[in-house]
């Protein structure tokens, strides 16, 4: 039976092509936007359906739950994509629980966000361009998770990076947005270099880039047998190097210290972008990659330990910065950084399954939170500053409700999805194979407490405290690359604005707070249900663990041994639940008692507090980077690299060679007189030399 898995990848690509050429297909802007608003979410949801079918019919029935199918229908999965001088990479899709899980997350949650975006972007004249990038992103992300070798993952990896860049700076007429896009792109280059080097190292050790091959020829299969390409035992140092390089790549994509600085700035993009790319899917690519390479990582305890420490530090730093942010999306951005840190912490202590479980639950509730915050921003006519919000619970109760669920889910309120995944991570952290379980567990709990606190702080500032604006006189912070009059024309024909149509007249003057259109609310409801149910259905029942088992290496495959957690699972649940409730309650107490301002202290006293300044400055990461790379690095580049290395050494060498050639040939060229007889003399000289040589040879032969 031929596989239909290729459809998963091809559908978003077709959607991308349709949207990209929509300008040729539909002359009328309204018709174009309408077509795009159906096609773009349609192809992603169709891919989701295909994913489910493929999962049921092809993966779960296969031996080992693993099957490699062609990317291009009709060809063999072994059809080479590149085949040069011993280097071979295939066009294959690897279908196994991990890739199918990620494909479901990307197409499922991605599809919901697409639907949401049709409402969110309805007024933007460049909506087709937005969905072009969106569909392309889905295509690239699916290549990343489904590819059967590192090279295909790398293609997807770079592709999502490009889409991320394009979408962050979607409203490129604002210079800050363009700069944020550049920052994300450039910081990611550092990580991508690590990935590329890691890939080369893998090639040199294993002689292939495929994860799994026939007769155990894949990288993971060799790693599981502790052998390299030639059958020699693996060198732990080399594997540690490979894993560290791969982790550098993951750091960039998944915003880990020290390469995390781009993610908060990436919030410059439209909110669906933040939800899809910078919360639910792309930023988890690092975790997916680590899990995919778990067979390698369990062989390299050093690299694992690095992953664990970086993850813990990122989780803690992200949470502390999240405490002091006043922009609603930036709180969520730092929360994302922090949650990604959790995922890496889980991978670092060898529990890749827990990391992936958190990827899944986080995708649900963080998408919910981002989209919810997008709905809030939409309702507030583009206002993002929480200091200017408040009292929204009464005005937009449905948005409040889904945000409430999201907050409790991420905080780890008992029996919501974040509770189970976070508890699983904390449990494994306490069972750290390096004996530092107490520290990891303690910092993890502290971070969980802070998470609960800053999320409830967000809720209070936004929904519960008194309104700090006058309803009906909101100023539109409308984003668009074009003049808004033009923009409004394009949106007139939009179908998704029924009862909640806020009209366009008020977008220009004072606006009232209103609920978002159904195209935005329905995905929120679905995500809210998922945020409640995913954890309890898949977590304690061990369904998820068993599902993912074929894709993940066990820690004791390598030199490390499994350790029992510090506390039994049931006690862990109680502690986690207590911490979450504690954090939520503390925020409720502190902010509930200051209903009027929604602030703990005045702005003046905040500025004086050095700890606040330190946190608000994001632990001075940007300052230090600016100082080191821009100022000092710039001077170094200017004075040493340019004026010495480039001008003197490189240019000097090049010009020197040219000058030398010029002088030598100036001398030699006198030989070329232009007189034919001189050249004929040269010919004669050659003939004589030849003849003498032949004579000498004959003489010796005849002797």
């Amino acid at each position: 039976m031929p596989s239909y898995a290729w459809l998963i990848v091809w559908l978003p690509l077709l959607g991308f092509l349709h949207n990209a050429f929509a300008g040729y297909l539909y002359k009328d802007l309204a018709a174009r936007k309408k077509a795009v608003s159906y096609i773009a979410p349609g192809v992603v949801l169709a891919a989701f359906v295909v994913t489910l079918a493929v999962l049921k019919n092809e993966v779960l029935t296969a031996a080992d739950h693993r099957v490699i199918v062609p990317l291009i229908p009709g060809l063999s999965p072994e059809t080479p994509w590149i085949n040069i001088a011993g280097f071979k990479a295939n066009f294959g899709l690897l279908l196994d629980p991990l890739s199918m899980l990620m494909a479901m997350v990307v197409t499922g949650i991605g599809g919901l966000i697409h639907i949401y975006a049709t409402g969110y972007m309805a007024e933007d004249r460049e909506q087709p361009r937005f969905f072009t990038y969106f569909n392309l992103f889905i295509f690239m992300m699916l290549l990343l998770v489904l590819g059967s070798n590192f090279l295909m993952m790398f293609v997807g990896w770079e592709g999502v990076g490009s889409c991320s860049y394009l979408l962050i700076s979607f409203w490129y007429t604002d210079e800050n947005n363009a700069k944020a896009g550049n920052k994300a792109f450039i910081v990611n280059r550092v990580g991508d270099l690590g990935f590329a080097l890691g890939m080369m190292a893998i090639w040199s050790v294993f002689g292939t880039l495929s994860y799994f091959g026939e007769k155990g020829t894949g990288v993971m299969q060799m790693a599981a047998r502790h052998v390299d390409l030639l059958g020699n035992p693996l060198n732990i140092g080399v594997v540690t190097l490979i894993c560290s390089l791969l982790f550098v790549g993951a750091m960039g994509k998944s915003a880990q210290i020290p390469l995390w600085v781009w993610l908060p700035d990436a919030m410059a993009g439209p909110t669906p972008v933040s939800a899809l790319i910078h919360a639910a899917t792309m930023v988890t690519a690092g975790v997916v990659m680590l899990t995919r390479c778990s067979w390698l990582f369990v062989q390299a305890p050093g690299a694992l330990q690095l992953v664990g420490w970086i993850g813990l530090a990122t989780a803690f730093v992200g949470a502390t910065i999240g405490l002091v942010q006043s922009d609603i999306k930036r709180v969520l951005a730092f929360s994302t950084v922090s949650q990604l840190g959790y995922m890496f912490l889980a991978c670092g202590v060898g529990n890749f399954t827990a990391g992936m479980f958190h990827v899944l639950t986080h995708a649900c509730f963080k998408a919910l939170l981002f989209l919810g915050s997008g709905a809030v921003i939409h309702s507030m006519h583009g206002e993002q500053d929480m200091r200017k919000m408040g009292g929204l619970k009464k005005l937009i109760p449905r948005t409040w409700f889904v945000m409430f669920i999201g907050t409790y889910a991420i905080a780890g309120f008992p029996f919501l999805s974040g509770f189970f995944s976070k508890d699983e991570i904390l449990g494994s952290a306490s069972a750290s194979p390096w004996g530092n379980g107490v520290l990891l567990y303690g910092v993890g709990l502290l971070t969980a407490f802070m998470t609960a606190f800053y999320m409830n702080r967000l809720m209070h500032k936004t929904f519960y405290t008194d309104a700090r604006f006058v309803d009906g006189e909101l100023h539109a912070h409308h984003h668009s690359n074009f003049d808004e009059h033009e923009d409004a024309h394009g949106a007139d024909a939009h179908a998704h604005e029924g009862a909640n149509d806020h009209g366009h007249g008020d977008a220009h003057g004072g606006g009232t707070v209103h609920e978002s259109p159904p195209s935005m609310m329905i995905p929120l409801y679905v995500l809210a249900v998922l945020s409640v149910l995913v954890g309890i259905v898949l977590g304690p029942t061990k369904i998820f663990e068993h599902f993912l088992e074929p894709s993940v290496a066990r820690l004791d495959l390598g030199p490390l041994a499994e350790v029992t957690p510090l506390v039994p699972e049931i006690v862990g649940w109680v502690i986690s639940g207590a911490i979450a409730i504690g954090g939520l309650t503390l925020a409720a107490m502190l902010y509930g008692s200051r209903k009027q301002t929604g602030e703990l202290t005045t702005e003046a006293s905040k500025v004086k507090n050095p700890l606040y300044a330190f946190l608000a400055n994001k632990w001075c990461f940007d300052l230090v980077y600016n100082k080191v790379f821009i100022t000092i690095g710039g001077k170094f580049a200017d004075r040493v690299l340019w004026k010495y290395v480039d001008v003197r050494l490189i240019d000097g060498a090049v010009n020197g060679v040219a000058n030398a050639v010029g002088k030598i040939s100036g001398t030699i060229r006198k030989v070329q007189t232009g007189y034919v007889r001189n050249y004929a003399l040269g010919i004669l000289f050659g003939v004589v030399a030849l003849l003498v040589g032949l004579l000498a040879q004959w003489t010796t032969l005849n002797r």
Binding site: R669, Q672, T673, G674, Y675, V676, R677, Y679, L681, L684
Partner: protein
């Protein structure tokens, strides 16, 4: 019977005279004549060697060499005529554009 090597040496002498003429003369027509001289020297060697091995091949080559020489002379003299026509001179010392 005259030894073949005599003819070969005669051929070498004639050939060398031809080479010398090509190298020192300045009149292109005389240079052409010297080339003909070299061709004749080669023909003598062909015929002599053909006789030496009692094969007709040597004379065959001479026939073709004659044909080529005839073609070459007609084209070469045509070139000389056209050069003379454009430059009013055929001194090879004035033809020194074959550089740079």
């Amino acid at each position: 019977m005259v030894p073949t090597s005599y003819y070969m040496i005669l051929s070498g002498i004639l050939f060398t005279i031809g080479v010398l003429g090509v190298l020192v003369k300045r009149n292109p027509i005389v240079i052409f004549m010297c080339i003909e001289l070299m061709l004749n020297a080669a023909n003598i060697a062909f015929v002599a060697l053909g006789r030496h091995f009692a094969q007709v091949n040597g004379q065959m080559y001479v026939i073709f060499a004659l044909a080529v020489a005839a073609a070459e002379v007609s084209v070469g003299l045509g070139i000389i005529v056209s050069i003379f026509r454009t430059r009013e001179s055929i001194n090879v010392d004035e033809m020194n554009l074959m550089k740079f």
